[in-house]
């Protein structure tokens, strides 16, 4: 392949100011926008969580109207899933995948711009519903009919906002797949790719497969509401449970969309700070693929209590338990990587270690929930809330924070303040457990989720959980401050900012220049 055109001084005519960000096709610019957008949404969703925890601080109704409380639980989930975690991973993919595979940019750079810029627009629509007559959606992020169909004016706006976010995710994923399959540097065979790239390839595949299914489900909701279809109404021969099946056929792979890139991050960071190659690279790849495959055949474990046939319950129970096998492989490999490693405990490593411990707790509570007869007791209790917050907060969010600390020197060219980072970590890890661990007890004792008031016997643990919530929430402001300082200045970072860091991204200077790998590196 040879150059076809070369226009001298082409870097000089790049637009500046706001226009630069509106029209950019640069993967680093777009990655930064994704990450900053995600941080903003993390704070917005976090504020909503604090409204929830403030109301639950004591039994009785004190601060907000119950209907508004329900809007908060619904919006908190939608904002955190579609606004914070998914864009953060996409931002990391944008920044790191081209650098990791030795490509000059993403495969489809203009579409990349569009997939980012749909996000702020989609969230403008979604968040605006809070101010509409009848308020925002309040039926839970899963939007089950018939409850969801009782939403006020906000209803069609919510549906279309999710369509827009879905389009954004699909385009972002197509871009990731095309980049990984087509833009790797010579010599970068599939089984030489960093695990973050592998996990993202599989995540992107999952997203392309299931986001359209969600689009189908919410389209049926829309036509049931406005055009007289009866997909989810028994009167017309439909079934509300049909919605749950379609939704969770999307929803379960979605759960792994939210965690597989985190596995990739942890598999990058632990070897760097244990100063040993990752234990069992190929088994990690196969385990990730197995998890992705299983994610398509376990969805009904979210709905054990709807009245499924016994055969269905047994199938979904056993298939769900199978997931513990590849996940166990991963946890084993992370531990084996650290075995006899020369470990140091900088902030990224601390978050990665906390991930290994705390995500595993979330995995175990997931196994408990997978047992169909036991799930009849746990279903829709705070035990479920505790479970998915262990995998999503101490899992996905901790991995994103670990990644941010790990790659901040590459992005900004400065080392972050290690002292602030350590404070951020210890405050986060302590408060997050104060926040979520008691919710296991509440759930096992029978406290239902998505309820603004509760019986007095749940008062103590709720108060402790709320204290943890505010502690964890405010601890994140330390991260914002640290980030601000790190962008503004700090100790100059070397190209290889971490002694044990491996990978092509550390071969380019810190901060990574605007254009990298204009000519492909050769990987041996």
């Amino acid at each position: 392949m040879t150059a076809t055109t070369h226009e001298a001084g082409h870097h000089a005519d790049e637009p500046t100011g706001l226009t630069r960000w509106l029209v950019t096709t640069n993967h680093k610019d777009i990655g930064s926008m994704y990450l900053l957008f995600s941080l903003a949404m993390f704070l917005v969703g976090g504020a909503m969580a604090l409204v929830i925890r403030a109301e639950l601080f004591q039994p009785g109704l004190q601060l907000v109207d119950p209907y508004f409380f329900n809007q908060m639980t619904t919006m908190h989930a939608l904002v955190m899933i579609f606004g914070a975690v998914m864009p953060a991973f996409t931002g990391l993919a944008n920044w790191m995948i081209p650098l990791m595979v030795g490509a000059p940019d993403m495969a489809l750079p203009r579409m990349n711009n569009w997939s980012f810029w749909l996000l702020p627009f989609g969230f403008a629509i979604l968040l605006s519903t809070l101010f509409m007559p009848g308020g925002g959606p309040a039926g839970g992020w899963t939007m089950y009919p018939p409850l969801m169909l009782q939403t006020g004016t906000a209803f069609p706006f919510v549906i279309f906002a999710i369509h827009v976010l879905g389009i954004s995710s699909i385009m972002g994923s197509i871009n990731v797949v095309a980049t990984i399959l087509n833009m790797r540097a010579p010599g970068m065979t599939l089984m030489k790719m960093p695990l973050f790239v592998w996990t993202w390839l599989i995540t992107a595949y999952l997203m392309i497969a299931v986001m359209p299914v969600l689009a189908g489900a919410i389209t049926m909701l829309l036509t049931d509401q406005y055009f007289g279809t009866t997909f989810f109404s028994a009167a017309g021969g439909g079934d509300p449970v049909l919605y749950q099946h379609i939704f969770w056929f999307f929803g379960h792979p979605e759960v792994y969309i939210l965690i597989l890139p985190a596995f990739g991050i942890i598999s990058t960071i632990i070897p760097a700070f244990a100063r040993k190659p990752l234990f069992g690279y190929s088994s990690m790849v196969y385990a990730t693929a197995s998890i992705a495959f299983l994610s398509f055949i376990v969805w009904a474990h979210h709905m054990f209590t709807v009245g499924m046939p016994l055969a269905g319950q047994l199938f979904f129970m056993y298939s769900t338990m199978l997931i513990a096998v590849p996940t166990g492989v991963k946890v084993f490999n992370w531990v084996a990587t650290m075995w006899r490693g020369a470990m140091t405990f900088e902030t990224p490593m601390l978050f990665a270690l906390a991930f290994v411990f705390l995500f595993t707790i979330g995995g175990f509570s997931g196994l408990m929930l997978a047992i169909a007869p036991a799930d009849f007791q746990y279903h829709d209790t705070y035990f479920v809330v505790a479970h998915f917050h262990y995998v999503l907060v101490t899992g996905a969010v901790f991995a994103i924070l670990a990644a941010a600390y790990y790659w901040l020197p590459k992005w900004t060219g400065h080392m972050y303040s290690e002292r602030l980072g350590q404070w951020h970590f210890w405050l986060s890890v302590i408060f997050v457990n104060v926040l979520f661990f008691p919710q296991h007890f509440l759930g096992l004792a029978g406290m239902p989720r998505r309820i603004p008031d509760y019986s007095v016997q749940f008062a103590d643990w709720n108060m402790i959980s709320s204290i943890g919530g505010f502690g964890f929430g405010f601890a994140q402001l330390l991260f914002v401050w640290l980030l601000f300082k790190c962008i503004r200045g700090g100790e100059k970072a070397e190209a290889r900012a971490w002694e044990g860091a491996e990978g092509l991204e550390w071969e380019v200077p810190s901060p990574a220049p605007h254009h990298t790998f204009d000519t492909p590196p050769v990987v041996r």
Binding site: M1, A209, M220, T229, S233, G238, D239
Partner: protein, 286 residues
């Protein structure tokens, strides 16, 4: 400016994505306002549709101009191919949701409502007997007929299969450098697409006018019209794409070695074709 160095090609920035975001947002907000009976809805929707259309024309125009200028390397060509393949896969999964709804209703929820699951049927609609096709227990007194496979759907099946053949013939003509034959077969394909859409519209007219089969006719009407309707929309879009490609052929675009735009349109058309075969079997025949 577009530049390529050392074999890599990175396109310059583009205004179209942000135009597309504004357009798409206006479009969906307008539709939502319209659905909630807000008077400005129709205007917002129209403006959004217009902006989105401008974006589609402008963006594809840029890509076509760059392609014709020969700016795209083999690697860009492969990226576009992967992009199109995975886009079509996402479309397949969109249809899968509606096929899933059909299968679930036919094989699970309707039999359960009809007494196979005694608890459900006794509580909801005691002693109601339902069999497919059904409009559900709430429409028990409704007089209506389902849409059979004969004659229109079968004719339409033949039309779509023929259009697949004419399209392949056009592709062969393109690869052999026979421009006249290429253009003839392309127009034949477009004509067959238009014919299909016309017959499908006539079938809908028949359903509403003579069979009393409507979108509101229970789960049968819901699955029938949503599946055939989304398919029909894809046929219309596919026909427009093929027409644009045909006009490009007439302007002398594409050569026997490099014609990804043509191939992408052909893939899309074959995908629409295959979805129809699924519809023909599961919606019309079985």
């Amino acid at each position: 400016m577009a530049h390529a160095e050392g074999g890599y090609y990175v396109p310059h920035g583009s205004n179209w994505p942000i135009v597309g975001s504004v357009g798409l947002t206006a479009l969906v907000v307008g539709i939502a306002m319209y659905l909630e009976a807000m008077s400005a809805g129709i205007w917002v929707m129209s403006a959004g549709a217009l902006i989105t259309l401008t974006m589609v024309v402008g963006w594809f125009g840029d890509v076509i101009r760059e392609g014709v200028k020969g700016l795209y390397s083999d690697q860009v060509d492969r990226s576009l191919r992967w992009g199109m393949i995975w886009f079509i896969f996402s479309e397949v999964m969109f249809f899968a949701a509606f096929f899933g709804a059909l299968f679930y209703a036919r094989h699970l929820s309707v039999p359960w409502l009809s007494g196979e699951d005694p608890a459900t049927s006794r509580v909801l609609w005691d002693s109601m007997v339902l069999s497919w096709p059904t409009a559900g227990p709430g429409n028990a007194g409704l007089e209506w007929q389902p849409m059979g496979p004969w004659p229109l759907p079968t004719i339409n099946t033949l039309i779509l299969l023929t259009s697949g053949m004419t399209l392949t013939a056009a592709h062969h003509a393109l690869k052999e450098g026979n421009r006249a034959r290429l253009i003839t077969f392309m127009w034949a394909t477009v004509a067959l697409g238009v014919l299909f859409s016309g017959l499908q519209a006539y079938e809908y007219y028949e359903a509403y006018a003579h069979l009393n089969l409507r979108l509101e006719t229970g789960i049968y009407g819901s699955t029938f019209f949503m599946l055939t309707g989304f398919h029909g929309a894809h046929v219309v879009i596919g026909t427009i794409i093929l027409a644009v490609i045909t006009l490009r052929c007439m302007k002398g675009h594409f050569n026997p070695e490099s014609h990804f735009g043509f191939e992408a349109a052909a893939w899309y058309w074959h995908f629409v074709d295959v979805v129809w075969l699924g519809l023909f079997i599961f919606v019309y025949i079985l």
